[in-house]
């Protein structure tokens, strides 16, 4: 386990001061720098959205016409709400698709927010926000002076190509450790080209503009002290970050004592250590492994039944852990559907159950993860993808419980990564195989064998 490296300008003891210094540097380059682009790498929960809102307000205050590009409608609506929360007076345009229900109805109540499906209606406003897909179909006279591209590592290069003509300069913000963009058809013929259309927008941007200033946010405010070192070492080996909170700042406890069952013991382990591995007997199973799905549902049910309460730096009093603060993460949509059905069968409602792709950017107190490799006979590139495991292992503020069948280390050893090496293509570190081993090695210290 590596210790977080100090910032380049010398160590800063206080995480708040370190984060503030990074943010100041980013804003300076964005507002006063000469480069056309600024890239910010943000580990999970490092205040990326806060940075986007701050930068947007500063740019607007400086009189620069600003467009913001996010990847999904949910992200766009979330940004609009955050902007309006920080600055209710700032006129913001929400460009939406012509399908009437493409935006959150909560936006209708915001007086400074204008909604339209036509960019020309919104162009005079200081800030206009939309998805990359909508911007790609936008034609206006005169480019925006500045753009903020959010979740830029999840944006594909060809999507950036479609919108880059709309702005002069841009701030690119994203998390390099999350899921890479993908394509439903093969794109090997362009692998290694600097403008490979299936690569991430940032990869293309930096390949053509290697001198752009690059920053990173050094502190994760979401991940607890128990999680940041592991996530940093396993997924961000060359750009370490640390937790904004200390070991004593977050605490999870239960009103009811353990009944000695597997789910209860893993909940206790997770409350104590921040991690828990509930291990089912080794077995090849279908993707919607009924036993594993039931184990996931039982863990969630017991967490609610036992009256879990969370203590954190956000509030002096213990806060009850409600269903809304729990998420279940899976690799596949049919697994998510199976878990939802199992939860409904146990009478649990209100818990978020989704795939890694859809959990990106979201935050919960407790997460229960069905391990992507659990019960599989093989380890494909999809299941080994670094970003998938990283998303699943970095959504929590307090604890993360992984449910898996035994034997995953052996499975990994039988399937070393064999992706062909392409000339000119940047090799991504760490590879999924390595990251999976690192996470499993850590989880094995918090292993609880299944006992109903």
């Amino acid at each position: 386990m590596t210790t977080p490296a100090p910032e380049a300008d010398g160590p800063v003891a206080d995480p708040g001061a370190a984060a503030a210094r990074a943010t100041a540097g980013i804003l300076h380059d964005t507002l006063h720098g000469t480069a056309r682009g600024v890239v910010v790498d943000s580990p999970p929960g490092a205040g990326k959205s806060t940075l986007v809102v701050t930068a947007a307000r500063e740019l607007a205050a400086a009189g620069r016409r600003l467009m913001i590009v996010a990847q999904t409608n949910a992200q766009v609506d979330d940004l609009v709400l955050r902007l309006a929360d920080k600055d209710p007076e700032l006129p913001v345009g929400r460009l939406h698709s012509s399908d009437g229900d493409a935006y959150d109805k909560a936006l209708l109540d915001l007086p400074a927010v204008t909604l339209s499906a036509k960019a020309a209606d919104l162009a005079p406003l200081p800030v206009v926000i939309s998805t990359a897909a909508k911007w790609a179909h936008t034609q206006v006279d005169g480019a925006w002076e500045h753009a903020i591209v959010d979740e830029a590592y999840q944006m594909r290069s060809d999507a950036l190509l479609a919108v880059a003509g709309l702005f002069e300069r841009a701030l690119f913000v994203g998390d390099p450790g999350q899921l890479d963009p993908f394509s439903v058809v093969g794109a090997e013929q362009w692998a290694g080209l600097s403008h490979d259309p299936s690569a991430s927008a940032v990869a293309t941007l930096l390949a053509h503009n290697p001198d752009l200033p690059q920053h990173r946010l050094p502190v994760s405010w979401r991940l607890p002290a128990s999680a940041a070192p592991l996530v940093s070492a396993a997924f961000y080996p060359y750009t370490p970050f640390r937790s904004g909170t200390g070991p004593a700042d977050r605490r999870l406890s239960y009103a009811a004592a353990s009944d000695g069952s597997g789910p209860d013991r893993v909940l206790d382990e997770a409350a104590e250590a921040g991690w828990g591995l509930l291990e089912l007997p080794a077995r090849h199973a279908p993707r919607t492994d009924p036993e594993a799905v039931r184990a996931v549902a039982l863990v969630v049910r017991r967490a609610l039944d036992r009256g879990a309460v969370a203590v954190s730096e956000q509030s002096p009093d213990p806060v009850p852990l409600t269903a809304a603060r729990i998420a279940v993460g899976t690799a596949h949509r049919d697994q998510a559907a199976a878990v939802r059905a199992a939860l409904a069968g146990l009478g649990v409602t209100g818990v978020t159950v989704d795939t890694a792709n859809r959990l990106q950017g979201r935050e919960y107190d407790l997460t229960v993860v069905l391990h992507p490799l659990s019960g599989r006979p093989d380890a494909t590139a999809f299941h080994l993808e670094t970003g998938r495991l990283c998303v699943l292992a970095s959504r929590h503020r307090h604890a993360c419980i992984v449910v898996a069948r035994a034997g995953i280390p052996d499975l990994l050893d039988e399937h070393p990564s064999t992706d062909p090496v392409q000339l000119g293509a940047a090799v991504k570190f760490p590879d999924g195989w390595e990251a999976n081993h690192a996470v499993l090695a850590h989880l094995s210290e918090h292993r609880v064998p299944w006992r109903p």
Partner: protein, 521 residues
């Protein structure tokens, strides 16, 4: 792999014989395909050893390079190949029908219909395996930048006439074959494995002989398909040679070492003999030709047998529409060649690459939708995955919009045993006389009944046009996926490539391939 494909593969293992994956043929087959079975030389990329090519299964043309390291012999081979293939490709160029194409006016940016012509049919080349398609691409790349003596009188090693042109066509066909659902250049194993599941791995499915044994085992040989497939893959004779030669383009190393290398050495010796002995040289060349033919002929027959098998299936309803796309592709390249445009560049620029990727993604989604609509077995896999559901209409309640001119928005209750996976507000589609009719998912009842609200294709009046609203008791299949996907983002012109992607690419045609030492070995 869908659950149904897994099941079909398991059943194939148990039965020792392939199981169908489709009830219709999902690729267009022309009446007169050109079959091309190439072999390559071990140890040198893109050095052809020989080929069988032609449109008559009983009379293929055999082309052999008796000494693949001899560049002159290689050029002769490529010139002969061009002589065989180009007339076939050109045969479709002049039979046209009037058509319309949408073009964007460069000045106003407005889209307008332009009268143009579309070739009535197009060439179709079939190779044994995906490696064969890759080989076509490689041959195309090696030929298209060459210059003939006519194009460049100073070229020290001019290419025979028509060879660069063949390179451009091969490049076009190989590039088109990456378009999902296209049929200008097909592989026999690709065709077969789209329509049948075997009990072997998909890697083994690329062995044409083994794949055919699973699908249509030879009753004379005896044994199950699985046993015959194993034999096709592995069985060797007393000399250690494979009984069923590989479908290429790579040859069996045992054949290379034991038979081919000595025969080539004899050919070299006969050529070098002093004084020259034309009879001996000719005999040595014939010996190499006979050897190469012995490796090619079984594959040639296997490709034609594959075509027979696939042809037995009735064509899917949408294959004709996709073939029209292929005809456009062929016509477009014909026009570029006729206009004297330079050969396709070595690498795509940023905009071209993004356009290709976007088009292929759209086409993949369209293909998946069309195959499901054409084939109940494919639709069953989508229903299993929760992406479609079929059932009986149990109730229809007429409702209307609240506007001045109310439009019908009937509510439908669909009883289904499928488990469609709705998350959030979702739209569903059904095929109504070939067009997609949209409904929105309102709710799912406790008993699994799905309640939908029909949204369009009911005409302009207050009352829906007859036949546009399903009636109680109708069986309807709804999909959660769109039937006609939207196209990808609008991209700038290459000369407007933005700074994020390196700015506009360098203008002007690319240089020809430089002559290197390897060209003069």
């Amino acid at each position: 792999m869908s659950l149904l494909t897994t099941l079909a593969r398991l059943e194939a293992v148990r039965a020792g014989r392939a199981r169908p994956l489709a009830t219709v043929r999902h690729r267009h087959l022309t009446d007169r395909p050109l079959v091309f079975v190439p072999l390559t030389t071990a140890g040198e990329a893109g050095a052809p050893l020989g080929a069988l090519v032609g449109t008559d299964r009983d009379a293929p043309r055999l082309l052999v390079v008796p000494q693949p390291r001899d560049r002159d012999l290689r050029w002769t081979f490529l010139a002969d190949l061009a002589e065989e293939v180009l007339p076939y490709i050109d045969a479709y160029a002049d039979h046209v029908e009037p058509a319309e194409r949408t073009e964007t006016d460069p000045v106003t940016g407005k889209k307008a219909k332009v009268a143009t012509e579309l070739c009535l049919d197009a060439p179709q080349i079939v190779v044994p395996s995906p490696a064969g398609i890759e080989y076509v691409r490689l041959l195309g790349r090696s030929m298209r930048f060459r210059r003939t003596a006519e194009e460049d009188p100073d070229a020290p090693y001019p290419a025979p006439a028509r060879v660069p042109l063949l390179g451009r066509w091969f490049t076009h066909l190989a590039e088109r074959s990456r378009m999902p659902g296209s049929a200008l250049l097909l592989s026999a194993t690709g065709l077969l494995s789209r329509h049948w599941a075997t009990g072997q791995s998909s890697l083994e499915d690329q062995h044409l002989g083994a794949l055919l044994a699973w699908i249509a085992p030879d009753p004379k040989t005896g044994g199950t398909g699985a046993e015959q497939a194993l034999r096709a893959e592995l069985a060797r004779d007393a000399q250690g040679l494979l009984l069923v030669p590989p479908a290429g383009p790579a040859t069996d190393p045992a054949f290379d070492n034991k038979l081919l290398a000595p025969a080539m050495a004899r050919f070299d010796a006969a050529r070098a003999a002093d004084p020259a002995d034309p009879a001996a040289r000719s005999a040595a060349e014939d010996a190499v030709r006979a050897l190469v033919a012995s490796q090619l002929r079984p594959t040639w027959d296997a490709v034609w047998r594959s075509l027979d098998l696939v042809r037995e299936l009735p064509p899917g309803a949408h294959t004709e529409q996709r073939w029209t796309g292929d005809r456009w592709s062929y016509t477009g390249h014909r026009d570029r060649v006729r206009a004297g445009e330079p050969p396709q560049p070595r690498r795509d620029d940023a905009v071209t690459a993004a356009r290709k990727l976007g088009r292929r993604e759209t086409e993949q989604v369209r293909l998946d939708a069309q195959e499901a609509l054409d084939d109940p077995l494919v639709m069953a896999a989508r229903r299993f995955a929760g992406e479609a559901f079929a059932g009986e209409i149990t109730e229809v309640v007429m409702e209307w919009t609240d506007s001045k001119r109310p439009s019908p928005r009937p509510l439908l209750a669909v009883a289904t045993e499928d488990g469609p996976q709705f998350d959030g507000p979702a739209k569903v589609y059904r095929s109504l006389d070939g067009r997609a009719q949209t409904a929105e998912h309102v709710r799912t009842e406790e008993d699994g009944t799905v309640v939908l609200r029909l949204l369009d294709k009911m005409g302009r009046g207050r009352e829906p046009e007859p036949g546009t609203v399903p009636e109680k008791g109708d069986q309807v299949c709804w999909t959660l996926f769109e039937h006609e996907p939207r196209s990808g983002p609008r991209l700038p012109e290459p000369e407007d490539t933005p700074w994020t992607h390196g700015g506009p690419p360098a203008a002007g045609p690319e240089a020809t391939d430089p002559v290197t030492d390897e060209d003069m070995l």
